[in-house]
Amino acid sequence: MNKVHSNTLYWMAITGVLFPVLILLGIFLRTVQAGGLAPLQSWFYPMMTLHGVGMVGVWYVAAMAGVSQMLTRYVEPTPLIGRVAIIGTLLGVGLLLACVFFGRYAAGWYFLYPLPFKGEWPQWSTVLFLVSLTVLGATWLLWSLDLLRAIAKRYTISQALAWHYLAGRSEPVVPPAVLITTVSLIAGVAALLSGVVVLALFYVELFAGTSNDALLMKNITFFFGHTLVNLTMYLGVALVYEVLPDYAGRPWKTNRIVAISWNCVLLIVLVAYFHHLYMDFVQPGVLQTIGQIASYASAIPAAVVTIFGALLLVYRAPMRWNLASILMFLGLAGWAIGGVGAVIDSTISANVKLHNTLWVPAHFHTYFLAGLCFMVIGYFYHCCQQLAEQPENRGLQRIAATLMVIGAYGVFAMFYFAGAFGVPRRYSIYPAELAYGAKYAAAATGFAAAFLLGFIVYLAETGKRWLRAVRAAP
């Protein structure tokens, strides 16, 4: 096992601190929706903004941190850039906290134009939010480019994208994790550049007084957000491809099918975001069709190939089940289950009913919380345990995993049922016609608390190993 770089250990600590806080914000949101905490209801939308941006941001950096660590097995990322990424992220988070807590900025994680300019918050908090995203985007773009540079130093582009496997050759050996990471980083650069474009257009309107085209802004915003979230998922999957074989005692190699699949993902992920604009009737029909096809197609290479590969990996294998392998395997399951919810919602005729209902947060919470989160925290535990080599308390680890699974899927179920019954998303208080939405919210609060408890047990198990790893780190 490679040494765990100190940057990775810092990221683990940052994730371990921020994630429970963001979970508490989520519990706050569902509690308000359940009719509780009446004096704090006016904070619903600022906290929803913080929860959304925070979760997407934390899991993006956590996945990038895991991948940066994982890549050290093959290439040499620049430690200084890794440190700049930490500082830049913390700075961006600080600005975000300021605009939300002092300015009550509440345009949501989508920051969908023209809402940032139209709310009841002061204009300076909108500017601060945009600056926060600028800092985060610039930092992460630099980080992504450095990882691409590191991969490029060892592999040619055709090797990194495993094109020689398409021709039936398997030399040089390219681990699946390098292939997936390369695909994800290229998509990530595209996503972050689109973030640059949308922020530039916001700034132009702010300082020049021009009006932006709402359709263009929505397209670019979702290109940025959807692509970023999806590639974050793929980074988590890269970690699983890398580590799960160690526990199965079998290799998980790149082959022609894996190479085809992930090269297709690179193209598909860049156009699948159109499914966010199905209800915008002014969007040209050809883009809606592309979005429909791409959304369905994205499931096959990424999920189907990976899921079958993982099942074959563990089937009748001498699996060593511990917190790392359990969480990683469960993460793949969560990704698949959430993906089914996503594919359903990405069907235009279904989207007509489900659009902007709680089905939408249901699916992305599923593949983010029970998918990506499990994969990444499983990897973090794996890294710490490899260094600490402490005896493992299987019972406690199973309790942690069980609580997190029950809690997470309980939260999702409440979202799915509510969404299926037409409860809209982003309502802080449900009117009389939607009173049943409050009951789902109340139940979800309990499940979220169970998840948090399970995560605390995970933190305890991983934390003591983390401390050992800190002492052993270079």
Binding site: F117, P122, Q123, W124, T126, V127, L128, L145, L148, R149, A152, K153, T156, I157, A160, L185, I186, A187, V189, A190, A191, L193, S194, V196, V197, L201, V204, E205, L206, F207, A208, G209, T210, S211, N212, D213, A214, L215, L216, N219, I220, F223, L270, F281, V282, P284
Partner: protein
């Protein structure tokens, strides 16, 4: 925050709710009132809109302000956009109940529109004018000193007694009017052009055909992906050159 305070958006205050007011009018049902036309005929408003779609505007003859320039702009713009007479008619309704048919004809003559069947100049009773103005949120107030009406400019597309679209104030250029007129001509226009300058658009309306066409803004959607692939290519190419240079250095 200094930057926020310095920006034009901040100095100007909140943007005027023009588009919100226009959107609020869409779908409004108009009252049927009795009109007196410039040739002296009496007609019901409902009769006119059943015959053909109408482009309604308000004015008054004694206006020392925007009325005549606005009507001139409407005259020129609808001529440019096309479809007048065939698909719709313009109805200019005076808000001054004291105006006579002679005043209506004088106004039409001043605009070189006298005798045109596609331009109707009309008057109504004070109560009826107030009724229809109220239905369209059109505010007008007589200044007791100057005896001039304080009012805005409003263009409303009417089809079968309902508002299709409205334009509030004097539009910059005829682009927004085109969208309204094409709707009057029976084509569904999914666009709603905002007031002010928009540097990049995804879609635009072809004024001649009324078709929605792709515009340069769509290229912006492609740009990030193309740049990302380009950057990746350059990164790998630079690394390959570096390896080749290192290899040459070793052999030498």
């Amino acid at each position: 925050m200094c930057i926020a305070a310095a920006s034009p958006a901040a100095r100007a205050g909140p943007p005027p709710p023009t588009t919100r007011a226009e959107a609020a009018l869409a779908g409004r049902v108009l009252p049927d009132i009795e009109l007196t036309l410039a040739d002296g005929r009496r007609a019901r408003l409902a009769q006119l809109w059943r015959e053909q779609a109408l482009l309604l505007t308000f004015y008054y003859r004694r206006c020392a302000g925007t009325c005549t320039p606005f009507l001139e702009w409407v005259r020129d713009a609808v001529g440019e956009v096309g479809g007048l007479g065939r698909d719709y008619r313009v109805l200019a309704l005076t808000i001054d109940a004291a105006e006579t048919t002679a005043d209506l004809r004088a106004q039409a003559a001043a605009l070189r529109l006298l005798g045109r069947r596609d331009w109707l100049f009309a008057a109504a009773s004070e109560a009826d004018v107030a009724h229809i103005a109220g239905a369209l949120d059109f505010r007008y107030r007589l200044d007791a000193v100057t005896r001039q009406y304080d009012h805005n400019s409003l263009l409303v597309g009417i089809e079968q007694g309902r508002v299709l679209r409205a334009l509030l104030g004097t539009p910059e250029g005829s682009a927004r009017l085109r969208e309204l007129v094409w709707e009057l001509r029976g084509r569904f226009v999914p666009l709603y052009r905002m007031p002010g300058r928009t540097p990049l658009r995804c879609l635009t309306l072809d004024p001649r055909s009324g078709q929605v066409r792709l515009d340069w803004g769509l290229l912006v959607l492609v740009l990030p992906a193309v740049l990302a692939i380009g950057i990746a290519g350059l990164t790998f190419a630079a690394a390959r050159r570096e390896r080749a240079r290192a290899a040459r250095g070793r052999t030498q």
